[in-house]
Point group: C2
Chain length 98, copies 2
């Protein structure tokens, strides 16, 4: 069994979590553009489920001491900010088109 | 930064995943006993969301090479079998009480 430092694993874990957060942004972006209105329950449900999934991953990484609670919280906050900016931009674009 | 072998981290990761699977069984057990009928959409939704959360954790652990794909698959299969046995037992108990 190879020996790997905890710090290497931590970096990998953090990168994966960032990647997964990015995927959620992309998914929501596509949804906003093509599928449904942001007020649609389906949109809310997809978003809630995805956020729940990511928060489980982050919590798991924290329990393994791969990321700190602080880092984990920041990841989620950043994602929420990105999504809220995306939401506002979409709403504005629709108003201008109306 | 302390050095920890990958194998120790793997054991910890696997134990955490087992623990989380156990928590889902307990949650569903409580739901079956007290809250709703298994046909209820709320029950289905809670179960789906919990299973999704666990599958995200397992997938994350696999990508970090902390558990093998085989182990991950087994964890989910075992959980599904436990839940299905629980479901059947509850249904039988209700029939007998009816």
């Amino acid at each position: 069994m190879s020996i790997e430092t905890l710090s290497e694993q931590s970096e990998k874990a953090y990168a994966l979590l960032k990647e997964d957060a990015e995927k959620i942004v992309k998914l929501i972006e596509v949804q906003m553009k093509n599928l449904t209105m942001p007020q649609c329950p389906l949109y809310e449900e997809v978003l809630d489920t995805q956020m729940f999934g990511l928060s489980r991953e982050i919590d798991f990484a924290i329990r393994l001491k791969l990321v700190s609670e602080e880092e984990g919280r920041k990841l989620l906050t950043q994602l929420e900010q990105q999504l809220s900016a995306l939401h506002e931009a979409t709403m504005r674009a629709r108003e201008n088109n109306a």
